[in-house]
């Protein structure tokens, strides 16, 4: 865990026609193999940070380094090595689970045999083997969410970015996803985990970064952060202590 999978330096982004930066001078480091919980209330700047991290948005200032490469210069190579499961179910609803995964595999440039073996592996892991030939729009929310995650993992990325990966799923599916993420971490994959469900973050994250109003207010290993606030019995208490109880837009 000595090298950084992600290093953000002085990242700043202000949207047009706004008078405040969405992300301001944000710097953080995510060690390789960590499960990094990127937490913050609504409008804190998490999504903007993730967008810049994926290369979907150019920062006004600062640099993004992912897996030892600079986003500005090697964005194409970086995107080949990261997997993103967005909060939206980014799938084709009228294709089957298999067809969806095969198409995304092809778009990653994977050979057919490799795609098939990866699909079989993940269908088995996520309990969807028997549903592989079913049209996705007939799936339950949990099944879609699992498939959405599978599509982000097919090409064996070194960094996985997950935005609310358990939103709208039942307890069983959530448990399955969280267990899988632990296994993924044990294989050395770095995971950035953005969620409002702090229990989940507490359960799987080795590192935490809490953002509010575009700035990083705390960062470190979960143990260190919790240790620095002995008055907080859990992550939720710590979160409220650091970000306040005011309702956000």
């Amino acid at each position: 865990m000595s090298t950084s999978a992600v290093r953000l330096d002085g990242l700043t982004k202000q949207y047009p026609k706004t008078n405040k930066a969405a992300v301001s001078n944000l710097s953080l480091q995510i060690p390789e193999g960590a499960v990094y919980g990127l937490l913050g209330p609504n409008g804190a700047g998490k999504s903007t940070t993730v967008m810049m991290l994926c290369g979907l948005m150019r920062p006004d200032a600062g640099t993004v380094n992912v897996l030892g490469m600079n986003m500005q210069e090697q964005g194409t190579e970086i995107r080949q090595k990261i997997g993103v499961a967005s909060q939206e179910i980014a799938l084709f609803p009228t294709l089957t689970a298999y067809e969806n995964l095969f198409y995304f595999g092809r778009m990653y440039g994977m050979p057919g045999a490799m795609i098939r073996s990866q699909i079989d592996k993940y269908l088995h892991i996520f309990g969807l083997t028997e549903k592989s030939k079913k049209i996705v729009h007939t799936f339950s929310g949990g099944m879609k969410r699992r498939l959405n995650l599978m599509a982000a993992l097919l090409h064996q990325p070194k960094l996985v970015i997950l935005d609310e990966p358990t939103a709208g799923v039942d307890v069983q599916s959530r448990n399955m996803i969280l267990d899988f993420l632990k296994d993924l971490k044990s294989e050395g994959t770095t995971i950035i985990y953005s969620s409002h469900v702090l229990e989940e973050a507490e359960r799987i994250c080795s590192h935490l970064g809490i953002i509010d109003e575009g700035t990083l207010i705390t960062e470190g290993t979960r143990t260190n952060i919790m240790g620095a606030h002995p008055d907080c019995q859990n992550l939720e208490q710590l979160f409220l202590k650091l970000t306040g109880k005011n309702i956000r837009d």
Binding site: M51, C54, G55, L56, M57, R58, G75, T76, E77, I78, R79, Q80, I82, V84, S86, E88, I89, A90, L91, F92, P93, T94, L95, E99, F102, Y103, F104, R106, M107, Y108, G109, I135, A151, A152
Partner: protein
């Protein structure tokens, strides 16, 4: 491989979308058939339509007999003989008939007498005869043609012209006869010559087409099949933009944006797939023109002899239509915006491009504007190929315009898409 994967994905999406399939294949086929049937009558000009015309013969002499004989032998006019002028007027007013010809009483006698007087006057001027002492002024012969106010002006002009032509012919014949009468007066040895004026000059109508395609002219099928085929091809933007924006809204396009090197295959795969769909539409619509239209009592679509030219222009139109569809899909952010703007713009492009009515019947300003519609380029080339047996060289400027239009729309689409990929 990525482009092929996208083509296959688009194929799967389309075959699982019955609404999209109907919109792409069934609706255009129905549209082209309906439009060809609806526009069949307007497209037939006077030569093709048999017009029922009332005929009131108050003259009952040679002039009216000649007029009746002339129209009876015409394939385009069916004379319905009536005797009562008031009844005729009522029938026309009621719209039961489009026109009536009324030959007043003594028309033949008056014309005969007028002709005689004219010849005598000419002879007397040359000192060959004495001016008739009992010469009286006679009113002009008042042949009436009553028209329904709703009659098309070309029918009106053709019927009036026809009557005038017949009368002029009779008059010329009678002048000649009277001339012979005057010259042979008192000379029993001179035999009158029977002269037919119609044999002197013959006007032959011919289309400037190759022998094999003589008689082929713009009709409802020849106009509507290529015109509405192009309209349907441009309407490809509906499923194309609809699917594209749906993918954007559902997030699958976001996933593709996150995959490096996927932007070109996504756009090119969509373009290639819908280009092929456009060509398939074209083949189906042409097949309808050839095999289905004749079964409905319409003319058979004649393609002409330049099949390579037809394929070339079909590919160019398909490229232009797909390029336009991609631009609409990429530019607009919501399906409502894209589909409303897209469909209205296609209707406007088709109207000014001569799909609804041929460009030559439009006002001059619209004829000028139509030069900027890709559908006009396509339609002009189809007419060149189908009716005029044009060469590839003739249609090449329009092929280049359509291809250029496609490349420009694609180029703009890629720029917009890229600008939205990295914010």
């Amino acid at each position: 491989m990525k482009t092929l994967a996208t083509i296959y994905k688009e194929f799967l999406l389309l075959i699982r979308d019955p609404g999209g399939l109907a919109l792409i294949f069934i609706m255009p086929l129905a549209l082209v058939i309906v439009m060809a049937l609806v526009q069949d009558a307007p497209f037939r000009d006077y030569q093709e339509v048999k017009l029922d015309v009332l005929f009131v013969d108050q003259d009952a002499d040679s002039l009216s007999a000649k007029v009746k004989q002339a129209f009876d032998s015409s394939p385009n006019v069916n004379l319905v003989v009536k005797t009562d002028t008031a009844e005729v007027k009522k029938l026309i007013q009621a719209g039961a008939f489009k026109a009536a010809i009324v030959i007043p009483a003594n028309s033949s006698e008056t014309l005969r007498e007028k002709t005689k007087q004219l010849i005598i006057e000419v002879f007397s001027n040359f000192g060959l005869a004495e001016a008739s002492k009992d010469s009286v002024d006679m009113n002009a012969i008042g042949i009436k043609i009553l028209f329904d106010p709703a009659i098309k002006s070309n029918y009106k002009q053709t019927l009036t012209g026809g009557v005038q032509k017949i009368i002029a012919g009779i008059q010329a014949q009678w002048i000649l006869d009277e001339l012979q009468n005057q010259l042979s007066e008192g000379r029993a040895d001179v035999k009158k010559t029977k002269v037919s004026l119609t044999d002197i000059i013959q006007v032959k109508e011919q289309y400037a087409s190759e022998k094999k395609y003589q008689g082929l002219m713009l009709n409802s099928v020849q106009h509507n099949v290529p015109a509405w085929t192009m309209f349907a091809m441009f309407f490809i933007l509906y499923p194309l933009a609809g699917n594209f924006i749906k993918e954007r809204e559902e997030g699958s396009l976001l996933r593709l944006r996150l995959i490096s090197g996927s932007q070109f295959p996504v756009i090119s795969g969509k373009f290639a797939f819908y280009f092929m769909i456009c060509l398939l539409q074209f083949v189906l619509m042409i097949a309808v023109g050839i095999y289905i239209m004749p079964l409905l009592g319409l003319s058979k679509l004649v393609l002409g002899s330049n099949i390579a030219g037809i394929l070339l222009i079909a590919c160019s139109v398909a490229m232009a239509a797909t390029g336009y569809g991609v631009l609409i899909a990429v530019y607009f952010r919501t399906p409502q915006q894209a589909l409303s703007f897209g469909s209205v713009s296609v209707v406007i492009l088709s109207a000014i491009g001569g799909v609804w009515v041929p460009v030559y019947v439009m006002p001059e300003i619209l004829q000028t504007i139509s030069r900027f519609s890709p559908m006009s380029w396509g339609l002009e080339s189809f007419n060149d190929l189908f009716l005029r047996q044009a060469s590839i060289q003739t249609i090449l400027p329009n092929v280049l315009r359509l291809t250029g239009f496609s490349l420009v729309t694609l180029f703009i689409s890629v720029i917009i898409h890229k600008s939205r990929t990295i914010l």
